[in-house]
Amino acid sequence: MIAEDPAFWRAGAISSTLVMLVVLGFLTVDSLATIRPGGANVPAYTVINKEIRYEFDVESNRYRPVIGAEQLLFGRNYSAQEAEETMRLGKLVIQSRNCMNCHTFFGNGAYYAPDLTKAWLDPAWQQMWMPMTQSSTREDAMAIFLMNPEKFPTWSRQMPNLNITRKEAEALVAYLKWMSAVETNGFPIHFGHIQTNR
């Protein structure tokens, strides 16, 4: 019986693996084009100069990022090159401080601390940290918090002090702003809006 012949299953293993790898290859080429900065789903880094919102889109039946009008970050407008350098630094902060092992980014990482996908849009910055840090802008509050989280706790589980410099903190804030503008197919669902129907 052919099903008892190892050669039959070996052929099956080789062919199914190859077919799947080829399909994966094609999908990878397409996906990489979609996720490069400036691609369909990922904004160029200069989006940090714009207002970002997260709103429900009736047509696609999900929440989507909305890029608005000009909104300076730390009182300045970043050129394309400045934005790219800032993003590079911001990502190095995230990696050097091992943020992914307390927080999540796009839901990936560790679950000890909040997801940071839409952290830029979190109402807590205006409601809690701007008053606590006596900042006039959201980004200032974020930067001040990041440099000394022990001074601005909001509950009993605290973020450690990771010796983040002012320059690093600003880069990290800019990075989080850019990240909040990535099209994530609606994750996290209805960010910032509380549901009342259980």
Partner: protein
């Protein structure tokens, strides 16, 4: 014993040591959840968790490498080629792991520069090891690949199992290179990162453990080569046929196109099907041999592997894999519940089974049995099931309160973390973690003693005198 097999025993000892460190780190990380401010700014959660998951990756990898070094000379009927180099690499591997762990604990982090990534921490989950160590791991894997390929070529013999193993070593090495780059764009970073994580643990490693189990079954139950080879090819076809595009279940929310919701969800939903086949195979083997075997612990751990893989990977994975559900469960303790069970079932149990097999041969024991292994088997599995159940409760609470109701903000996060169900789950996780830890201690005691001639002789004398063993 071949020199390669002596090296295997060293790898197993190192693996079991790291397993212990993993448990200590896990208990510390669990304590962070239960006690606020625990070692804050001294040994934070990010460090204990990094140690916990990285020691896991390394001990499993060492288990795989050890298993291959154990079985390869028997399979190819000759000493492993390049064994001296392999022996040196083992010590380099251990030293590198120790240095990396010490740096994680005592240096912890550096400024936002490439130097920090080269020498302290790369900050990408599972592959935090600094680049210099990643180079070391790459070299260890390369030498391992050389050992396997060169031995097969010198032996002029490539059995079906060795053939599959050799092909599988290509992605084992190649995918690991993704541990090196630092990509600014988080979407692209995670796109490739998932190739490494998923295509290692849900593809390459599945094939690797499949090869090892094939070799183990031939030794444990005397199963015919044609049978294990046929089964291995079936496994490869089904696991890779579903797992390669099952990678898409990590591409729902990272910025990739929405067609991944359909593709990833579909293939991921098919993944339990081959796992059911493995359960059938396990029951068949157990039944037709009427549980008779010369190595009871190995046999039971192989059974645990089949069932653990199915329930931990298949059942728990299926709960959360459809995108409409995953939107709520993603990045919660539900994921942790699934991850613990799946890793344990798919790999942990299998490595332990192989170690018992190797010890039987190494200690020249006709029959390998003891009382202690039963206790460790019970406590480790009870501990794991308890942790997983507790985390499921916490995960359900988190998905409900933080994601579905709360809108995933900081406020929602805090409310879920302090929810009574969440807290109870997280406390019970620590309790069952302690049960698991006790099981580990007994496991080590048993591994050190089982099958040794002195113990066996005393048991024999006691039985001969009519008393209990």
């Amino acid at each position: 014993m071949f020199r390669s097999q002596q090296l295997a025993l060293r790898y197993f000892a190192a693996a079991m040591t790291l397993f212990g460190i993993m448990i200590v780190a896990g208990l510390l990380a669990s304590t962070h959840y239960v006690q606020d401010g625990f070692m804050l700014n001294k040994l934070d959660f990010s460090i204990t968790k990094t140690l916990h998951i990285d020691t896991m990756i390394i001990w499993l990898l060492m288990g795989f490498i050890g298993a291959v070094y154990w079985f390869l000379p028997i399979e190819l009927e000759r000493e492993v080629e390049g064994i001296k180099l392999a022996e040196i690499m083992f010590w380099i591997f251990c030293a590198a792991v120790a240095v990396v762990a010490a740096v994680f604990i005592f240096v912890q982090y550096g400024p936002a520069t490439e130097m920090s990534l080269w020498f302290i921490n790369q900050g990408r989950k599972y592959v935090e090891a600094p680049r210099w160590a990643a180079i070391g791991i790459t070299l260890v894997v390369l030498v391992f690949v050389y050992n396997v390929v060169a031995t097969a070529l010198k032996a002029k013999k490539i059995t079906g199992i060795v053939g599959v193993l050799m092909v599988d070593l290509i992605p084992l090495f190649g995918l690991y290179l993704i541990a090196f780059p630092s990509i600014t764009n988080m979407s692209e970073d995670q796109y490739w990162w998932w190739w490494l994580v998923h295509l290692w643990v849900e593809a390459t490693w599945e094939i690797l453990i499949g090869c090892i189990m094939a070799l183990a079954l031939m030794q444990l139950l005397g199963t015919n080569r044609r049978i294990v080879e046929t089964w291995l090819y079936i496994e490869v076809a089904l696991v890779l046929g579903t797992g390669i595009l099952g990678l898409g279940h990590h591409y729902f929310w990272i910025g990739t196109p929405s067609y991944w919701l359909g593709i990833g969800g579909f293939f991921s939903a098919l993944e339990p099907l081959p796992l059911l086949g493995m359960v059938v195979h396990a029951v068949y083997d157990a039944g037709t041999h009427r549980m008779k075997t010369t190595n009871k612990p190995a046999f039971f751990w192989v059974m645990a592997e089949a069932f653990g893989n199915f329930i931990g990977g298949g059942v728990f994975g299926f709960m959360m894999t459809l995108p409409q559900i995953n939107l709520f469960t993603h990045g919660t303790q539900w994921t942790v519940s699934h991850g613990h069970f799946a890793f344990w079932g798919a790999y942990g149990c299998g490595i332990i089974a192989v170690i018992y097999l190797a010890l039987q041969k190494a200690r020249d024991a006709q029959q390998l049995d003891s009382t202690a292994w039963k206790w460790s088997f019970a406590l480790l599995n009870l501990g794991m099931v308890g942790m997983v159940g507790a985390l499921l409760v916490s995960g359900i609470a988190q998905a409900f309160y933080e994601r579905a109701m709360g809108g995933s903000t900081l406020q929602a996060f805090m409310e879920a973390q302090t929810n009574v169900w969440f807290v109870q789950g997280i406390v019970m996780r620590l309790v069952f973690g302690l049960v698991f830890a006790v099981g580990y201690v007994i496991l080590i005691v048993d591994l050190l003693a089982i099958g040794r001639k002195r113990v066996a002789t005393e048991n024999f004398k006691a039985r001969a005198a009519g008393g209990p063993a």
